[in-house]
Symmetry: C2
Subunit: 317 residues, 2 copies
Amino acid sequence: MASEFELIARYLTPAASGARAGVPLGVGDDCALLAPQPGRHLAVSVDTSVADVHFPADAPAEAIGHRALAVSLSDLAAMGAEPRWCLMALALGDDDETWLANFAHGFHSLCQASGTALVGGDVTRGELAIGVTVMGEVIPGEALTRSGARDGDVLAVTGCLGGGAGGLALWQRGERDLDHPLLERYLKPQPRLAAGLALRNLAHAAIDISDGLLADLEHLLEASGVGARLEPEALPLAEGLVEALGEEAAYRAALCGGDDYELLVSLPGERLDEACRRLAEQGLTLTPIGTVSAEPGVRGVDIGGAHGWQHFHGGES
Amino acid sequence: MASEFELIARYLTPAASGARAGVPLGVGDDCALLAPQPGRHLAVSVDTSVADVHFPADAPAEAIGHRALAVSLSDLAAMGAEPRWCLMALALGDDDETWLANFAHGFHSLCQASGTALVGGDVTRGELAIGVTVMGEVIPGEALTRSGARDGDVLAVTGCLGGGAGGLALWQRGERDLDHPLLERYLKPQPRLAAGLALRNLAHAAIDISDGLLADLEHLLEASGVGARLEPEALPLAEGLVEALGEEAAYRAALCGGDDYELLVSLPGERLDEACRRLAEQGLTLTPIGTVSAEPGVRGVDIGGAHGWQHFHGGES
């Protein structure tokens, strides 16, 4: 196996590194040096994706690279932060350089598309796992948090739900057509960065849907000290989901399946039209799915059934 | 096993979290929000410590927690950066809560001692591994880098060498007296943060010694485009090292053993006294061990023998 230094030099330094805005010193020293914009807060988060826990080990390497960055960027999206930099901690079991080149291509492509500079890395031997730290910037006071939802707010989600769980189910059944919309949703989720930026100063609260709508809704409600009533029939189901899973399982996937990486927001009803308009400019829908209430807990869904799915899904989420 | 959320809440949120300087929003949302000091550059680095690769899995949990943070902080020390924040990505195989409590105690104690706030975490299942991202601050232009060494500079090291490799050798022989100075050096290395800060505006270049003096010296020389002559007899050997390993192996450990986490600096001869004086105020020695030359390569040591040890040591470094 090539040494850590060789691997870092070959695959973790982006092709077009050079001098980049906000990076006085990139990969290659003990630390990278970054120049934050004056007067901003930094938003930082870390997520680790482990083979056969968070993604199938035999998924395409390019998708694994894309996905590992996407799930971390999704946390920046949920805060309305602008992505700037990332660091990758990669654990690798073998030295398949074709795999590594494809993995790096997926990672760097999303770096480029999202305006995120890879500024540092670390390679160790072990079970395949990718830890990605992301750093973004936000104007103080404008960050979206989980704790601002208020009684009477509308709850709304970007895009569609259930595609992550639906895609995983198809993959487990042996579907390998990467153009299938559900596989695309599962393997190459799109972090809703532009949506998060557009929702600043409109939404009271936001969270990204990584653990499933109900689970993440509960986090948001708990942080805000409120409850909610959902309208399950309003859930925007992913394309092809009912065909793939049947109607009941499709709704369960939308409620409880993980890996959707859409945003769930709480916003005043009178701002819903403006929010929908801003997201429509990005080609993205925003669908109202319920309302916030002062009374704690979630009403309108059969939580028992939901938790059953959560449990079944536990090994993969 | 407790859920990720419960584990994070119980062990990865420091006891004395509350509102801390520079942390408008800590653990518990999609991202933490940080307020960097105006006019500073950020120094960032990530290091992953894997059980039975970077440390013995049966080492004391408190030492594992300390060590995982120490090796990352050592990168900030090498840049002369002031530590501010860190994020931990923890992979855990089982749910031994006593172990986790001791691990967290080791980690949080060093957080407190170094002025580093833990602002985010991620827990996954897998082989025990700890990825720590550290963020520090440095005045633009004052960061120590690897690339500034000049012909005629003195090379010097903080503290003593070989203790990391010597401690590992003792551990492998079954020594378990944690008060043994070599075990202490190996299991609970002290990142030279104050030394790095004191050497700003004195040293031309710096690197931390994590892979062994010779290996890290080569990184520094390569980045600076220079060579060096070492004086092996000048190497400051760790206390008890010759007694534990014998003279020849002791010198090899000092030259090629990893895990010392001392600083290697290159500085003008006329600044050596001032540098020694500043470090003496911290109770730390700075020992000249050679000189920088224009001619590439390292002279004065038997590299062949050195590489032999490096190879033997490869599995543990």
